[in-house]
Symmetry: C2
Subunit: 114 residues, 2 copies
Amino acid sequence: MRPKLKVWVTFGDRLKFGDGRAQLLELIAERGSLRKAASELGMSYRNAWGYLRELEEAAGFAFLERVPGGGPSSGMRLTEDAKRFLKRYRQFRNALEGDMKRQFERTYSRKETS
Amino acid sequence: MRPKLKVWVTFGDRLKFGDGRAQLLELIAERGSLRKAASELGMSYRNAWGYLRELEEAAGFAFLERVPGGGPSSGMRLTEDAKRFLKRYRQFRNALEGDMKRQFERTYSRKETS
């Protein structure tokens, strides 16, 4: 028997940011392309773009920017605000993963007959 | 912005026990009937029954028993093992909910410019 966890931060009633969206941002940063990142995750470009627009509106800052100085083939990158947001989400999520293991141990390691 | 959590305990690769199933067990205990409990949660009796059989097999103990001494209309109840299992899940889950709030506070209350 093992514990399992899903964590999100939510904006309002509807918009959620969790592991899947964190992975999308990380892939955009790696590939320099929203289109490539979405495609690798099996998302449509349209969905990924729509999600990011909603996220930017809810968070109140831009997540993506064009790499400056490049030609038409130059790519996208995360803004500093987006990097900070992503880093905090990872910290939050990883800390909670540790808490989960500790709480599970504490709750379930007691003898079944107790 | 608010944090949100889902927690399960898993058996093997496939079988999960989380809030929805905990609610099913609680409703069975309240109503004395798997059929009524499943129906209130919008589950088919067949699905609820199948799930509980799998859970019993994975956990290695019975979750449900007939109330003894009754006639054909007497109901179902949770076994002592099932009550203990459910109580532990609730303890684990609630403790983690508290951890989540604390970790969220710790991670996100720092100034955005830091």
